[in-house]
Subunit: 351 residues, 2 copies
Amino acid sequence: MQMNRSTRRTRNVITINDVARLAGVSPMTVSRVVNDEKNVRESTREAVLLAVRELNYVPNLAARNLASAEHVRIGVIYSNPSAAYLSEFLVGVLDESAGKGAELLLVKCEASNPDAERISVQRLIDSAVTGVVLPPPLSESDTVREALQAAGIATVGVATGRFRSDLSCVRVDDRAAAEDMTRYLLDLGHRRIGFIKGHPNQTASAERLTGFRAALRHAPDAKAEVVQGYFTFPSGLEAAERLLDAEVRPTAIFASNDDMAAAVVSVAHRRGLDVPRDLTVVGFDDTSISTTLWPALTTVRQPVSAMAAAAIDLLLRETRAAKDGRTPEPTDVIVPHTLVERQSSSPPRPA
Amino acid sequence: MQMNRSTRRTRNVITINDVARLAGVSPMTVSRVVNDEKNVRESTREAVLLAVRELNYVPNLAARNLASAEHVRIGVIYSNPSAAYLSEFLVGVLDESAGKGAELLLVKCEASNPDAERISVQRLIDSAVTGVVLPPPLSESDTVREALQAAGIATVGVATGRFRSDLSCVRVDDRAAAEDMTRYLLDLGHRRIGFIKGHPNQTASAERLTGFRAALRHAPDAKAEVVQGYFTFPSGLEAAERLLDAEVRPTAIFASNDDMAAAVVSVAHRRGLDVPRDLTVVGFDDTSISTTLWPALTTVRQPVSAMAAAAIDLLLRETRAAKDGRTPEPTDVIVPHTLVERQSSSPPRPA
DNA sequence: CTGAACTCTGATAGCGCTAACCTCGCCTGC
DNA sequence: GCAGGCGAGGTTAGCGCTATCAGAGTTCAG
C-alpha cells in the first residue's frame, strides 16, 4: 500500500554521493574538499563546492564520526558555578564539540564534598568517556583530579588560578588581570583602595591578590586595605562593612568577584553613599549580576565560551596524542581577558 | 615499524560484538536487550546484561544514529534570556538530545529585531535542521515562528504564556502560578498588595496578571495596586518607587519576575524598609538573582531543564510523525510549577 | 495431528562517511 | 629513454549499530 522503497528506510536527505554525482567526481573527492584537504585541483574543488551549495549539502556528523573519529566522548562535570558562567561555558563546549563531532556527557556534581565528587567521576568513568573538561571550581578539586588521573582519563581544567604540571588547563592570567584592574583604579586617581579577597581554597584568589599588590608597588603613595571574603554575596556584605567602617574610607573597592562587588554596592547604598561618586566599586568575572545591578559593574571579563572551546580542542588533541602512544605534556593555555568599564567606577570625588 | 594492525585504525573500545561473543548470542540480540525491546527470553536478557556489565559496554551513539535514526538535527535559537535560564535550559536540551542521539546546533540571535531573527532562522535552515526548539523570548516571536513554518520545519516553543493552535509548546501555567503566589500572600495575611506587570509583548505578562486578579477575587477585603514594568531591573526600580509612594503603602509586592523583585528590594532598602518585616517581596522565575540577593526571594520556579527536555522529546515525536506522513496537531504540554518560599516573605507586621 | 500464528534469534545488508591503499599520468634527472 | 617521484584522483573496506527478513521452535485451535 506504500510506494515500494528500494531498500529499507526512507532517506530523503542528500548525501555525499548525491554531491559526487552532481559534481561528476567520486565521493572521496567530495570528502576531501569538504574537509579542506589538499591534493585536489582547484577546478575540481570549485566544482564540488558548487554542487555542495546547489544541493545544500551538510555532512552527516554521525557518519563522519563513525568512520573517522575514534569514538570521542567528552565528559563535563559541573558543580555550581554561577549560572551565567555555566551557560556561557556550555555554549562554548557545545559549539566546539558539535563541530568536532564529539559526544558530550554532562554530569552534575550536587555537593562539593569528596564523596559527591567521586560519585560524579565514577559516573563518567562508567560511561567510558575519553576525556573530561572541568569548569571551576571543580578544576581545582584534588579529589576529582586524582580520581581521573587514576583512571587514566585525559583531563583539562578551565580557569584554574595557576598552572600545575600535572593538569592541562585553559585560563586567563588572573594575576595580570587583577594588576590591570588595579592600575585602572590608580589611573583614575584612587589612592585609598580596598580589596576583598576570594575564597582561600581557590588559587585564583591568591593570584588576584598578588596582582593587586603588584600594581600598588608602582604607586607608593597609595594605601591598600585588604580583607577576607569567600566569593559569596553575604561575605561581601561583611567585608564591605569592615572596609567602610575604617576611619578613612577607601574611595574605591576592588572585590575579587562580582557577587561580592554587588554586595559592596548594596552596603554603600544602605549607608547613603553614591556609587561611583562617593565610592568606586569594581568586580571580577563579568557575571550577569554585573549588568542586572545598578550601577552596572566595571569588571574583568573572561572569554568563557572561547575558553570552553579551547579546552575541548586541547582535550581532543591530547586524547589523539595518547592514542598514538605519545604521552603529551600538560599544556598551559592562557587566553586574554578584558577590562569592561561600566558605571560603577569613576575618578574619586575631589576632597 | 609499528605493530601490524588487522585493519586500519586502532579500536580498543568494546563493541556490541564483544558483548555478543561473551554472552554467546548474536549482536542483534544484544542490540535488542540494550534497547529494551521485547521478544527476548528472560534468561537471554539476563545473560546479555551480565556481559554488558562485565565489559562495561556503552553503545556508540554515532553508530546507533547512523544505523537507525533518520538524521535528526535539532536547532536551538537562543537570544538573551537570563543566563541562569539559559544554562538550565541547555542542560536539559543536552541531556535529552544526547540520550536520544540527536545532533544539536546552537545559534545565537544577537538582537531582538526581525532582521536578526530572520538571519538566525536562515542559518538553521541552511544547516538542514529537522526541528527547532525556541526558548523564551523567541518562542513568542512572530518572525521566527513564521519563518520556520514557511520552511516547513517542526518547531516547539518553550515557556510561551499561552498555547496557540499553530505551535506546539511546553510551558507552565503562568496564570495558575500567579494565582498560587497571590493566594500565598493572602494566606500570610496581606491585604494591600502591589503588582508589577511584565513586558506587554509577552503573553506570560498578561497571564500572570490575570492569575493575580483571579486570586484577589476570593478576598474582597484586599486592595491591589497594579503598575507597569518591563521585566528589567530599572523598570522594577521605577515601579517600586511608584508603589511605595502611595499614601497607604502595600505590605507586599508581587513582581512579575525576579529582576524586578530584586529592584523592589533595592528600593525598599534605600528607603529604610526591612524586607520582609516591613515589606514582603516576591518574584517569579527563580533565576539566580533570587538567591544571590539578601534576603533571598520567595518566587515561582519553573522546571526549566525538564521543560527543555520535554521540548526535545516532543520535537522528536513530531518529526517522526511528519516523516510517516502524518501531520501532527500542535501539542500543549503543561508542566507543574512550584512555589519556592525563601526569606523575602512573611506575614505583615501587625498594625 | 496439521496448519496457522506467534515467539525468539540469527544472517544479511546497509546507514554516510573516510582511512588506507592503489592507479594513472606527468614531470624530473641522469 | 627510463627509474623514481609526486600530485590528483578513484577503489575498497569497513566504523558500530540496527532494519529487515528469514528461519527454528512453540503453542494452539480445529
